[in-house]
Each structure stands twice: as structure tokens, then as C-alpha cells.
Amino acid sequence: MYHTIVALVEDKPGVLNRVASLFRRRAFNIESLTVGHTESPGVSRMTIVVDSDDQNVERLTSYLYKLVNVIQVEDLTVLPKVTRDLAMIKVSATAENRTHIMQTVDVFRARIVDVTNSSFIIEITGDEDKIEGFVDVLRPLGIIEMVRTGIVAMARGTSPLYVNGNGNGVHA
């Protein structure tokens, strides 16, 4: 089952390597990993999607906490949340299919961000399903190139990722 894990980490050189190396060493497969800045300076946020069972994900969480630069880890899998992925898709655009493509873009609420005589770059944001649906529709029209950012996720509601530390026990 896919788990969506969010980790707040110190923004220091080598931290991404430490996290990635941990997944490799403990034999977890990363489906998607994104990193970016957060509201607090010096703190980066990673969203990591792994295919693993609940028990192993619990292990993974405590392994992540062993890394000195990891501040907080939450498994958002079962929480109400918003997940987003962004894709840029370059499709070949001929005189015949241009209108058709533009209509499809509208239906999916995507955007055309670059236009040439023979191609479009289309940008789409959404959850995985939406993007996959869109790609399926475009595929017969001729996808030249595609890139996706990977997933970012945030739990719904007012509260931030609460800073309580490790899942086991409490702090002195």
C-alpha cells in the first residue's frame, strides 16, 4: 500500500543524501520524493511516497528519527489531506488536433504555457488520478516529453504538523 510520509528536516548540506541513503539501506522503495522550503527558515519539508505495509512504515518512521537532522515525521496516509503533483507535458500540435487539445486542456483545467507551430507545453496540477487521466487522454495525440514534480501533501484543517517528536514515548 502507498504511504505518504512528510518529514521536516534541517536545511543542511547532505540531508537529502542521508534520507535517500536510509531508504536504500533499509530496502524501502521510494515512489516519489519532493523537497522544498517551509514557513520556517532553516527547515525543509520532504514528502515521500513509499510502497510498504503499515508495520514497515512504523519502522521507517523510527529509522528516520534516528537521523540527527530529521525534526519531525508524520504519516499522512490515513489523514484527510490535499495531495498535489504538477506535470508539464509537451505534445505535438497539428492544424487538425490543435482545437481538440485546447478543449481537453479546458476540461481538465490545465494550462497551455508554451506554444509553437508544432507543439504545446501543457501544465497541469492535481492529484495523481487527475494527472494520470489527463496523460491517458493526451497519449494518442502524441506526447513528446513529460516531467512530473512528484507529490506534495498537506493535512486538511487548521493545525500544522504538530511538533511532538517521536511516536514512542514522550520527551523529558
Binding site: 534541517e10 541513503s21 519502522r59 534516528k66 540527527v68 514512542n168 514522550v170 520527551h171
Partner: protein
């Protein structure tokens, strides 16, 4: 005061209480070595950086303080790797300081440049690459703090040469260390303590599994009080040995692959396992599917990542073992478990004619007898440091260690070559201790060059080489599981007596049991390091044995043609 990075390093080390470092110089750490001469720190020049790493580890294990080793960049640093991994697996508080090429050369494959932080990432608790002089002080303070707090472990600090050389205005910063992501201070909730008390009082057949965490948290008295109050027998892991007196009536002995049958049997029959600072290593559990299926499990452990890793537990108390046991003890009622204790005594009685007494009464010298005699001759008071192999298991079985932190061995990584250098480090940490290294002929030769270090530094350790002409433990596996096809295990060795003498040290040879005691006595009375070459039985095996991955209760026992009567001398 204007100081160079190298001077700041020593200023910081001295303030961390470092009195001895082990190491080897080279181009990339020359500034550190040059500055060293002005500081009150003893430097032990080893013959290989691996030796320095094991010495720092041995020093840490014997003293409880942080052990420090240093090396130059490139090959110096890579030579440390085995020692760092050894310290990591056994949670040994150590700091490794390596020189790195100048910061502007990093990434250009400069002479003797190696990505040391990359290489050691998975075998350190944490590591740092320092490229600016002003980082040296704070990073080293953090390194010592991380190495000794929480679950201890090795921390490596790689310092670029230019950062060692530059000067800056410096004063010592003694503010408490704050790290956002590092929380070594977990503790269980009072509800969890109550649950533990309930489970303990409900148990009919409780058993304590004591690991190295007992020693690391200094919970020896609390463990003893717990065991005595609730009348719970104690089984120890290989690394837990010495955390509970071997001669205590509630001590069962070592568990696991080469544990005595009654110990493993008791684990399988227990209805409550109290795992104290141990991590259910596969050498301890055997087949996980059949491991202690009748028992509820309480795990008291400082590292949350060890909880539910190998064995799912019913209750986990994450926190410092000593503090946690104190909280439990404050509310624990005395209980007796007469039936359970006599049940164990009965199964122990069945095998009371022990392995050691079953050895054929020929003229051969058996390693188990040597260890037994070593224990008698030293009144059980020596600090014993082992290498890895059969002799290690025999020493664990037959040297009945009563005193905490007097037993040092490479458990998690099983590093051959560990024994002699770790013993040298341990002796420097505890000069008053009678330190003996026990090694096989194979492992001894991996780091035998450190005899030269012992001679130069005038460090006295006694080295007992159990010379069986084989890589014994591997030969044993070949005998049991590979139809005695002895591929690459027979080993021809140099004359160890002459080897010792070549170093200006004393060498002794023992070929018969009657000579064992006098040789040990002579070694202890001789100044300087002594090597005793014990020519032991070549094809002897360690019993009992749970084959790797087999059920804990299914052990291979010593074939018994005609059991010999127990002799008083061999009794505990």
C-alpha cells in the same frame, strides 16, 4: 585569543575530558598533529588506523568515556572504516577525526581525497564535513554530545586542511547544546509503567533478557534489585555479559546461538520476557516464527527504532533503562517464582554434566579448559577482551565474569582483529586492571602489528592465542554444514613466541593442560605485554549450537560417547 583551527580542536578535546587519542598522521591532518604537542593529551601511534579505531572503541567500552581516534584523509580514513562499523554495531561512544584535503580541492579528486562522510554515512550515528575554522569548535562539541547521549555511537568529523590552518579570534562556548532534530531524552509515560507492573505481577514464568544497554545506562544495581525483588532469572546477550554477576544464583548465563541449552529452553518456556537494553539480534532469537511464542514481551530500550523491529512486543518503554527501572522498582512488590525457578534448575540439572566435562580425557589441550583455568587463575577478576571466533564463545561460556564492564567483545559486527587493539585501548582507560586479550590464530594475525604499539607505548596486556591451526569457527560450520570440506580454513602461522620476542616482548608456549596455570601466572608477573601461544585441539567445536535461523530450542549438542564425571575443579 587568536587560535588556529587545529588549536581550537585540541582546546575543545581537552575540555571534553580527552586524555588519550589513538591515531596516525598524514598530509591532511599534519596541522592537527603539530598543534597536539602543546596540549596535555597522550597520543598513541598505532600501526594501522584500524588499530586506532579499535583502541578508541576499547577505551570507550572500558571507561564509559568517549574514545577518540584520528587519521589522515584518503587511505587513513578508509582504514578506520572497519573500526567505525564495529563501534556502530555495539553502540560504542566514539569520535573519529579525519583530515580532509583543502576545501577548494574537495570534489576534484585531489591527492588522497576520499568522500569520507559519504563512506561512513551508514556506519556512524552522525558525521560532519567541516570546511570553515569557525565550525570546528561547535561541531566537535556536538560530536561528543551525540556520541555519548541517547544510544551511544560513533560520530565522525572530517576537517578540511585549510580549516585546520586558518586562525581566528576564539573563546570557548559552553552554552548547552541545542539540536532541533536530536532528542535523546525520551521516557515512558506513567501509564506505561503501570502496565508494565501489571504484566510483571501477572507473570508466572518471567525472564529477563539483559543486553549491553544495562551497562551503557549504568543500570547494574537496578537490574539486580529487580531480579532479586521479583525473583526473576537473568539471561544475558553476548554483549550483556558482566552486567549481572555470573555467579549470582539468578544468573542463567548467555542466551542465543551458543547459549546453554537450559537458557534457550527457559526463553521458549517463559510467559513474560523482560528485554532490557537488548535488540533481539538474529544470533539471539534463531527462527523468529518459533521464538518465545508463549511469552508476552516488555521491551525497555532507549532507541525507538529497535522496538518492534525484529520481535513484536506487547509493551515498549522507550527511555533510559536505569531511570525506567527505578520508576518500576519504586512500585514493585516482591514475588517468588519458586515453581518456575525450580523448573529451570531441573532442566539445568539434566545438563549439569556440562560441555566442558564431556571433553575426552586424552592428552589434548582444549580451549575450553584453558579459559576455565584462566578464570580460576585470575580469580575471575581480569578484564577480558576477545577477538572473534570459537575462542570468543568459549570465553563467553567459561570465563564467569562478575564485574561490570570487564568484558569487551565485538558482538554486532563480529570483527576479527578487534581483540588486541581493543585490549590496548582498554588498558589505557583502566591502567589498574589486569587486562587479558583472548584471540584465535587467525584474528590475532589480522592486527598483530599492534604488538609493536604495545611495546612502544609500554602497555601491558596478556594475549592468549588459542592456536588451533584453523579459522576455527568457519571450520566448525564447514564440519557441520559443508561435509567437512575445509576450504580456505587451515592456516599456517608464524612462531608466535618468536613474534613476541621480535617486538622485545615475552612469548610463552603451552601444549598441555598441566602447563596452563603456570604460564598464566608467569605472564601476569612479567613486565610488558606477553603472548601465550596455546596449542589447542585443532578440530574442536563450540557446543551447544543453534544453527543460523533454526529454532532456539533445537540445538546441536556435543556428541557424547562416554560422559565423564564432573570434577570439582570445573564447577562454578
Amino acid at each position: 585569543m587568536k587560535l588556529t583551527g587545529a588549536q581550537i580542536l585540541w582546546e575543545t578535546l581537552v575540555r571534553e575530558g580527552v586524555d588519550v587519542v589513538f591515531g596516525y598522521p598524514g598530509g591532511a591532518n599534519l596541522p592537527i598533529y603539530d598543534a597536539m604537542l602543546d596540549y596535555p593529551v597522550r597520543h598513541v601511534l598505532t600501526r594501522h588506523e584500524q588499530g586506532a579505531a579499535h583502541m578508541a572503541d576499547g577505551y570507550a567500552r572500558a571507561s564509559g568515556k568517549v574514545g577518540v581516534a584520528m587519521a589522515t584523509s584518503g587511505p587513513g580514513a578508509t582504514n578506520l572504516v572497519t573500526g567505525i562499523a564495529t563501534a556502530m554495531m555495539d553502540s560504542s561512544p566514539t569520535v573519529f577525526i579525519t583530515g580532509q584535503v583543502a576545501s577548494k580541492l574537495i570534489g576534484f579528486d585531489a591527492f588522497q581525497e576520499t568522500d569520507v562522510t559519504g563512506i561512513t554515512l551508514p556506519i556512524t550515528k552522525h558525521n560532519y564535513l567541516v570546511t570553515h575554522t569557525e565550525e570546528i569548535g561547535p561541531v566537535l562539541r556536538e560530536a561528543f554530545y551525540i556520541a555519548r547521549t541517547g544510544r551511544p555511537g560513533p560520530v565522525l568529523v572530517d576537517i578540511a586542511k585549510d580549516a585546520q590552518q586558518h586562525s581566528l579570534e576564539w573563546t570557548y562556548d559552553d552554552k548547552p547544546i541545542k539540536m532541533r532534530g536530536y532528542r535523546p531524552d525520551l521516557r515512558p509515560t506513567s501509564r506505561q509503567i503501570e502496565q508494565a507492573l501489571e504484566m510483571i505481577s501477572a507473570a508466572k514464568r518471567p525472564l529477563i533478557l539483559a543486553g549491553r544497554g544495562v551497562l551503557l545506562s549504568g543500570a547494574m544495581n537496578e537490574l539486580r534489585q529487580f531480579a532479586e525483588t521479583a525473583n526473576v532469572p537473568v539471561a544475558m546477550t553476548l554483549l550483556g555479559i558482566s552486567c549481572f554477576p555470573a555467579t549470582h544464583p539468578l544468573n542463567l548465563g548467555m542466551m542465543g546461538m551458543h547459549g546453554e541449552a537450559w537458557v534457550n529452553q527457559a526463553i521458549q518456556e517463559a510467559d513474560l520476557l523482560l528485554a532490557f537494553g537488548m535488540r533481539f539480534d538474529d544470533r539471539v532469537t534463531g527462527n523468529l516464527k518459533t521464538y518465545a511464542v508463549n511469552a508476552k514481551k516488555i521491551h525497555i530500550e532507549i532507541d525507538p527504532a529497535e522496538v518492534n523491529k525484529n520481535v513484536p512486543v506487547d509493551l515498549a518503554l522507550v527511555g533510559d533503562l536505569r531511570d525506567t527501572l527505578r520508576q518500576i522498582l519504586a512500585q514493585m512488590q516482591p514475588v517468588s517464582h519458586i515453581d518456575w525457578l525450580s523448573q529451570i534448575a531441573r532442566s539445568k540439572g539434566d545438563s549439569a554434566v556440562r560441555d566442558i566435562q564431556n571433553l575426552p580425557p586424552d592428552d589434548h589441550l582444549y580451549a575450553a579448559h584453558v579459559i576455565n583455568d584462566l578464570w580460576h587463575t585470575t580469580s575471575g577478576d581480569a578484564m577480558i577482551v576477545t577477538d572473534v571466533g570459537q575462542h570468543q564463545m568459549w570465553t563467553a561460556q567459561y570465563y564467569k565474569q562478575d564485574n561490570p564492564n570487564m568484558w569487551i567483545t565485538s558482538g554486532g559486527l563480529g570483527t576479527m582483529g578487534f581483540g588486541l587493539p581493543a585490549a590496548i585501548g582498554a588498558k589505557l582507560a583502566r591502567p589498574e586492571a589486569d587486562v587479558g586479550a583472548v584471540a584465535g590464530d587467525g584474528g590475532f594475525q589480522m592486527t598483530a602489528a599492534e604488538l609493536s604499539t604495545a611495546a612502544q607505548e609500554n602497555v601491558k596486556v596478556n594475549v592468549a592465542v588459542m592456536n588451533n591451526g584453523f579459522l576455527g569457527m568457519v571450520r566448525q560450520w564447514q564440519e557441520f554444514f559443508y561435509e567437512r570440506r575445509y576450504a580456505a580454513t587451515p592456516m599456517r602461522s608464524p612462531d608466535f613466541v618468536k613474534l613476541a620476542e621480535a617486538h622485545g616482548l615475552t612469548g610463552l608456549r603451552v601444549t598441555q593442560r598441566g602447563e596452563v596455570v603456570s604460564a598464566i601466572q608467569q605472564a601476569r608477573q612479567t613486565d610488558g605485554t606477553v603472548v601465550i601461544d596455546f596449542r589447542v585441539e585443532q578440530e574442536d567445536s563450540v557446543y551447544p549450537m543453534v544453527p543460523s535461523g533454526a529454532d532456539l530450542h533445537n540445538m546441536i549438542r556435543r556428541p557424547m560417547p562416554n560422559p565423564i564425571a564432573e570434577t570439582a575443579e570445573d564447577e562454578i
